[in-house]
C-alpha cells in the first residue's frame, strides 16, 4: 500500500477532496455578505468582477434596512415568537418524553407512535386548515398565531429527542433516590433532569432554530408589517413591484441569520449530536 507509506500526501489529498464541498457550502454566504457591502453602482456594473469589492465596502444597505424599513420590529417579533414557543414546547416535550421513556400506563405505546407520526407531518400539509383555526381563535394576522401553532411541530420534535436522552439515564439512579424517600417528581427534578442537561440544551437549541427558521406558517398567518417575522419581512417587504433592493435583501438575509449563527458558533457540538440523535426537519 503505497498510500500508507505517505500519510502526509494522503492527508493533503483528502483535504483537497473536501475543497469543492466547502466551496459549495460556504460560497453563497460569502457572496451574500459581499453583495450586502457593495455600493449599488458596483453591484450593477456588468464589467465589474462580482467576487470582489473594488469600490470600498459600504454599510448603506444595512443602514437602509435598519432605519428605513421595519426590520427591527420583524426581528423583535421573531425573537418573541421563538422565545415563547421554544420555552412552552420544551416544557411540554420534557414531561411527555419522560412519561414515554419511563412510565407505564394505558396507551403509552399508542401515544409514542402518535408522537412519531406527527413528528413526520410536514407543515405544508396543514397550513390551509390551520389558517382557518387561527381565524376562529381570533388570531388572524397576529404573531400570537405563531406562538400557538409552532408547538405543533416543536413538541413532537422535543419529545422525540428527549426520549432518547432520558433512556440513557440509568433507571437504577432514579430508583435509588425513590428508595431513599424521594417522590417520583423529586427524583425527576433533582436526579433525572440534571443528568439529561445535554439533551435539554439540544432540545432548546433545535426548537429555537426550527421556530426561527419557520417560514410557511409565518407567511400564511401574518401579513401586516407589525406582526411578521424576520424571514417573512425580508423576503416580502423588500421587494416593491419589480424593483429589488438587492443590497438590502442580502443585508436582511445576513442579519436575519445572525441569532442562529451566534448560537451555532457557541453550541456547534450540540448541533452535531442533536442532528445524529434524530433531529431532522
Amino acid at each position: 500500500m503505497a498510500v500508507k507509506r505517505q500519510p502526509l500526501l494522503r492527508k493533503v489529498l483528502l483535504h483537497a477532496g473536501l475543497v469543492p464541498f466547502l466551496l459549495f457550502a460556504l460560497f453563497p454566504f460569502y457572496h451574500m455578505t459581499l453583495t450586502s457591502l457593495k455600493t449599488d453602482s458596483e453591484m450593477y456594473d456588468l464589467a465589474a468582477v462580482p467576487l470582489l469589492i473594488r469600490e470600498g465596502p459600504t454599510l448603506q444597505h444595512y443602514a437602509y434596512l435598519l432605519w428605513e424599513t421595519a426590520f427591527i420590529t420583524w426581528t423583535k417579533n421573531s425573537l418573541m415568537v421563538t422565545a415563547i414557543a421554544t420555552s412552552v414546547s420544551v416544557v411540554i416535550g420534557t414531561i411527555a418524553a419522560y412519561a414515554l421513556a419511563r412510565l407505564k400506563f394505558v396507551g403509552v405505546g399508542a401515544f409514542g407512535t402518535g408522537i412519531f407520526v406527527t413528528y413526520l407531518v410536514p407543515t405544508s400539509l396543514l397550513f390551509l386548515p390551520l389558517a382557518q383555526v387561527v381565524h376562529w381563535l381570533g388570531l388572524a394576522d397576529s404573531k400570537w398565531a405563531l406562538v400557538v401553532t409552532y408547538p405543533t411541530f416543536l413538541v413532537p420534535f422535543c419529545t422525540w429527542l428527549l426520549m432518547g436522552y432520558f433512556r440513557t439515564v440509568p433507571k437504577e439512579v432514579e430508583e435509588c433516590a425513590m428508595v431513599d424517600g424521594a417522590t417520583r417528581l423529586q427524583a425527576l427534578w433533582r436526579i433525572v433532569l440534571p443528568m439529561a442537561i445535554p439533551g435539554l440544551v439540544c432540545a432548546v437549541l433545535f426548537a429555537f432554530t426550527l421556530s426561527w427558521n419557520e417560514f410557511i406558517y409565518a407567511l400564511t398567518f401574518t401579513s401586516s408589517s407589525e406582526e411578521i417575522t424576520a424571514s417573512v419581512g425580508v423576503t416580502s417587504e423588500l421587494i416593491r413591484g419589480d424593483i429589488y433592493f438587492w443590497g438590502a435583501l442580502m443585508a436582511g438575509a445576513i442579519l436575519g441569520s445572525v441569532p442562529i449563527v451566534i448560537l451555532y458558533v457557541f453550541f456547534l457540538d450540540y448541533y452535531v449530536s442533536g442532528l445524529t440523535a434524530g433531529a431532522v426537519k
Binding site: P50, F105, P156, F215
Partner: protein
Amino acid sequence: MAIGNVRVEPAAARTGLRVRELLDHERFLGPAFVTPALLLLVLLVAYPFGMAVWFALTNSFIGRPGEFIGLQNFITLWSSDSFRQTFQNAFVFTSIAVVFKVVLGIALALLLNEQLWFKRMIRGAVLLPWVIPTALSTLGWWWMFNSLYSVVNWTGIAMGIMDPPGPNWLGQRYYAMAAVIVVNVWRGLPFFAITILAGLVSIPKELYEASEADGAGPTARFWHITLPLLKPVLAVVVLFSTIFTFSDFNIVYVLTQGGPINSTHLFATLSRQVGLESGQIGQGAAISLYLFPVLAMVVWVQLKFVRKHQY
C-alpha cells in the same frame, strides 16, 4: 409495551389520597404528563387534518362555507395542466435531489471520517447551510441565479465552461428545475453527511482490519463492509428526506414562485397558490393532501421495518 399492570388497585382513587401521592403512581403521572402534548396534537394537528380532508371534499372558497362534492376536486385536478405538471415536478424534484444527497452525502461523510486538520471547523462549515433560515439563504441563491448579474454564469464564462451570456437559470424550465434542485441539495446535504458520518463511526474497525488482512482493497471494503453496514442509517435518512423534500415549500416559493409556467411548482406551493391566492380552499386542500400518501408510506415503512425492535 406497557399495558400489563393496569387495574391493580382501584382503591388508589380513594378520597383523601393527596394529589402528590396520586402523582407518584405511574398510571396517573403518565397520563398527566402526556395530556398537554396530547391536547395540542389533537386540537392543532389531528383536527386540522380532519378539516383538510373535509375541505378537500367540498367546493369551499375563502370566507364562504362550501358544499359537499365528494371526490370532485381530486377529479378536476387531473384535468388541470398546472396540477399534472406539479405532480410530475414533485417526483422529478424529489428523486433527483435525494439521489444527489445520498451520493454526495456518502462521499462527504467518508472524507469527514478521516483524520483531518481543523476537523471541528470543517464540520461546522459543512453543517452551516442546514442551520441558516432556508427562506433567507435561498434569497442569496436567487441573487446568484439572477438573469443579469448571476455570479454562477460570470464564473462559468470566466472559466470558459459557459458561452456568454450563460443560461437564464430561473427563466427556462429545465434550468429552473436544476436550480431548485441545487439549492435543495445544498441545504439538505449536511444532514445526510453528518448522519451518515455517525453511521460510519459506529462500524467496528476490526472488520476493516480483518478484510485488509484478507487482501481486500479500498473499493472492495467500501462495497462489502461500509455500504452494507450503512444500510440502516441510509434507510432512515432517505425516508426522512423523502418526506421533507417532497413537501418542500420555502425554496421554490422564494426562488421561482413555481415558474416559469408551473415548471417548478410542488404540491405545497401550488396548494398555497390555489387555496389562498385564488381562494379555492377546497381545491387547495385537495392538492396538499397529495402529500399524504407519501407521508403514510414513509411512516408505514419506518414503523414496520426500521423501528421494529424499538417499540
